[in-house]
């Protein structure tokens, strides 16, 4: 595996040996390299949890937000300067639990942001409670008798909520994941990449052997990502024996930035605010 240490900070990852986050870290760096990004070309927003600790290991413009709140921060950054490459990441608890509302609304907006979900189906940093993507019956510190609810389906939610690039990656397939991240960043619109990410410590039953035996690539299976209905059918397929990775859905739709006529080609950050004339508004409200 090729590493690109130019994107590293001085801090070494604090994840457990074998953590799926390593694969996402390597894939991100490889994607940045492939896209020819310099460190300052990248603006990333991170959440709280093991995934959020990634913020300390990437030398980019970063914002390590609070739990569940990466997407609104990313939205603010993108609206202020829509020329930036904005990538948000969050965990499954972070982004699909406390921050689920933002996920749906950001999908509706179709801002040109890439969103990576580190999905290990468990709360790692708080030492092993159930997560919104844990399967029904999952026994954990917070659910010793098994989870009663059904899991959240991020791929299906993204598709029906309006995201225009929806993919699933696997942190054990770094080259494949790199390619998905590159495609996601190149895609004009909200690109969601749900990454299956083993937590070897708190969710060992969903570790590498489990996924390695079950995953298959959609591109090999001849899936047409431009077919909305097929994408949704695939996303809602209840088959724990064969797990697809790759691009589920891809479409073209006007981005939020494009539809915001006031933005045009010039980022708001370039506006000179020194001398703003409000005479016209005053005239309107004068006696």
């Amino acid at each position: 595996m090729k590493d690109f240490p130019v994107y590293n900070t001085y801090q070494k990852p604090s994840w457990c040996p074998g953590c799926g986050n390593f694969g996402i870290w390597y894939a991100l760096k490889a994607a940045f390299n492939e896209l020819g990004f310099k460190n300052h070309d990248i603006t990333m927003v991170f959440g709280i949890g093991c995934s959020g600790n990634l913020s300390n290991f990437l030398k980019v413009y970063g914002f390590h937000s609070i739990h569940g709140r990466t997407l609104p921060v990313a939205t603010g950054i993108k609206l202020a300067n829509h020329k930036l490459n904005v990538i948000a990441t969050s965990g499954d608890g972070d982004g699909l639990g406390i921050g689920l509302g933002h996920f749906i609304h950001t999908s509706r907006r179709n801002l040109d942001i890439t969103y990576i979900i580190h999905n290990n189906k468990v709360y790692g940093l708080t030492t092993g409670q159930t997560s919104p993507t844990s399967p029904k019956g999952f026994a954990s510190k917070s659910t010793p008798f098994g989870v009663i609810e059904l899991p959240v389906n991020p791929i299906a939610l993204a598709i029906i909520s309006g995201a225009t690039f929806v993919a699933r990656g696997y942190s054990g397939e770094i080259d494949h994941l790199t390619s998905l991240i590159v495609q996601g960043i190149k895609h004009k619109g909200f690109a969601v990449i749900d990454v299956l990410q083993p937590c070897v410590t708190f969710n060992p039953s969903y570790s590498y052997p489990f996924y390695n035996q079950r995953i298959y690539k959609l591109e090999d299976a001849g899936h047409d990502p431009e077919d909305f209905n097929k994408a949704l059918a695939l996303a809602t397929e209840n088959n724990n024996e064969r797990i697809p990775i790759g691009v589920f859905y891809k479409s073209e739709r006007e981005t939020y930035e494009e539809a915001s006529i006031e933005l045009g080609d010039k980022p708001l950050t370039e506006d000179d605010i020194e001398d703003i004339n409000i005479d016209e508004i005053l005239e309107e409200i004068a006696t």
Binding site: N56, I66, I77, A80, H102, H105, D271, T287
Partner: protein, 570 residues
């Protein structure tokens, strides 16, 4: 006292357009050089329920909403029943002569065929304008002043609508001229045009923010903050401002923080409920040293409380909201011009010191409108703080070697500017740390800014006489009621002064100590139950405030209540 004073009120059902009508009437008065103050009372519903809109007109300030009505326009029977006891002697009640099912022997009744005249003018819908035409005729307002105001108000509604509404005021005006009763004596004398602006506190906040270079406004609708959103949204394209109605208040504050991190001036506004949702992010703005301007327009709580009424019950809340120790500035404008100016100061302080600044308003200030002559005289020069264009290598966003604790900001995608805005405690680059010496150094770096901030925050303003027998103290929107009460007190031969606080936090002892020590009888006046501001004074000045005039019924202070309180205890 002033030469001219008129307290005018219109009442009717919600949905009858009385607020628009009241505003037109007040603008017509202001266009003749008068000062006006408009205050609305309405329930939290869209149709039905009693609404009233009150306009105080005087030839000079101070001005505020007052008790005692000179002209009451009653669009229904309920208005007469509800407000009869507020009528001044020689006051007049204008009502539709078609309404007959009540006691017609009430003094001051002036029946006018409002609906009949409206139909004559072109449609029932113009009834309210017939009524203000009648009022204008009664007080000898030059007709042209009202016509100018109506023309302007309906200028975008098409020629026909404009024409029938002008007809309506004309019908009303000449009806009054021909039939007015002798007992009504209040007459206007001004007859030349004066350019004034009649704006609400929220409009002043929005205007000040635009002037300050606002580039992104994020909000979720909540009374009484929503009118900021409504004022700003049509300006999006012309002023290149993203106005974003987000999915909730959490997204609103975080969108504002994200955009500020990227380098623009941004703002979010809400009321107490929405601010509750924002509190976690407030601390994040602080630890990441991201400038942030929040407007909190208070209404009576707790919880949903009384959505369309006023209170000053969130002072302690905004002061202490979010976990941990951190610096924030709270600004509490007392009137429209202060709101316009202090929102500009909020942006300057936020950027200069890289802190959250909260402008605290309330329903009374946010939704009442007041006349001002020249708003731009209150403009402040912009101070944008330490912003790097060319970033040196090995850039440290949270550089500990800078003496005043204010480190340089750099913005994506400037080469070399990489940094982590980290909600975790962090090192000079922003990367996480739990190391004790670094933690202490970072906390101290952030706290160092407090000394400079304390030197720069606005001092309270002191009004009235130096050798006062009674000293009043308060913050925010109690300003106008207190200043007006002081005008009345002058005539009672009681010497009064007033300290008006426009920045209650951080607390600067020196700003208050002389006033408080010299006070013979100190009364703290505020719109809440506990006396939150009084308690802040007590804990910081180590004094006991023996007298508090508190009000928490959802209504602002009316000057006569203050006057009566002072006199009762003397």
């Amino acid at each position: 006292m002033e030469k001219f004073s008129l307290n005018w009120k219109i009442g009717g059902e919600a949905g009858e357009g009385i607020m628009v009508t009241g505003l037109i009437f007040s603008k017509a008065c202001a266009s003749l050089g008068y000062e006006v103050f408009n205050y609305a009372e309405y329930p939290s519903r869209i149709r039905g329920g009693h609404n009233c809109y009150q306009v105080k007109i005087q030839d000079k300030k101070p001005i505020t909403a007052e008790y005692g009505i000179d002209i009451l326009v009653a669009l229904n029977k309920e208005t007469i029943e509800l407000h009869l006891n507020e009528m001044n002697s020689n006051g007049i009640i204008i009502f539709d002569s078609a309404i007959k099912d009540f006691d017609l022997n009430i003094p001051g009744l002036y029946p006018v065929p409002l609906e009949e005249l409206a139909i004559k003018a072109g449609g029932k819908i113009t009834k309210n304008n017939v009524a203000i035409g009648v009022c204008a005729g009664l007080i000898d307002m030059p007709y042209e002043a009202l016509e100018r105001a109506v023309k302007k108000a309906f200028k975008d509604k098409g020629e026909h609508v404009q024409k029938i509404n002008i007809e309506a005021i004309k019908e009303g005006y000449y009806f009054a001229k021909n039939t007015q009763p002798d007992f009504f004596k209040i007459k206007m004398t001004n007859n030349t045009y004066a350019k004034k602006y009649v704006i609400t506190g929220n409009e002043a906040i929005a205007l000040g923010a635009v002037k300050a270079g606002l580039k992104l406004y994020a909000a979720y609708p909540m009374t009484p903050a929503s009118s900021i959103l409504h004022f700003l949204s049509p300006l999006e394209r012309k002023y290149r401002i993203i106005v974003k109605h987000t999915e909730d208040e959490i997204a609103a504050i975080l969108t504002a923080i994200g955009s500020s991190f990227a380098g623009i001036r941004s703002m979010a506004a809400t009321s107490g409920g929405g601010f509750s949702l924002m509190t976690e992010a407030l601390g994040m703005a602080s630890i990441t040293e991201t400038p942030l301007v929040i407007v909190e327009c208070m209404r009576p709580g707790p919880s949903t409380g009384m959505p369309t009424w006023t209170e000053q019950g969130d002072l302690r809340f905004v002061m202490h909201a979010s976990q941990g120790d951190f610096i924030r500035v709270i600004l509490t404008p007392g009137d429209v011009s202060e709101a316009y100016q202090l929102i500009q100061l909020a942006f300057n302080l936020a950027e200069k010191y890289q802190i959250p600044v909260i402008l605290l308003s309330d329903k009374f200030l946010s939704e009442s409108s007041e006349s001002v002559d020249n708003l731009t005289q209150y403009d402040l020069p912009k101070e944008r703080g330490k912003r790097l264009k060319d970033v040196p290598e090995n850039f440290k966003r949270y550089d500990l070697s800078i003496e005043d604790g204010i480190s340089w900001r750099a913005f994506p995608p400037s080469p070399n500017g990489m940094q982590l805005a980290n909600s975790d405690e962090h090192d000079e680059y922003g990367l996480v740390t739990e190391e004790k010496d670094l933690r202490i150094a970072m906390v101290e770096k952030r706290m160092k800014r407090l000394e400079s901030i304390k030197k720069e925050i606005p001092k309270p303003k002191i009004y009235g006489e130096t050798d006062a027998e009674v000293s009043l103290i308060g913050f925010g929107s109690v300003k106008n009621p207190i200043l007006r009460a002081m005008e009345y007190i002058k005539h009672e031969n009681i010497k009064v002064n007033f300290l008006h606080c426009i920045c209650p936090h951080p607390f600067v002892k020196e700003h208050y100590i002389d006033f408080v020590n010299n006070a013979k009888r100190l009364i703290c006046i505020e719109n809440n139950y506990f006396g939150q501001f009084a308690s802040i004074l007590q804990e910081n000045l180590l004094i006991e405030i023996k007298e508090k005039l508190l009000k928490f019924d959802g209504r602002p202070f009316f000057p006569h209540e203050i006057v009566e309180y002072i006199k009762r205890r003397i």
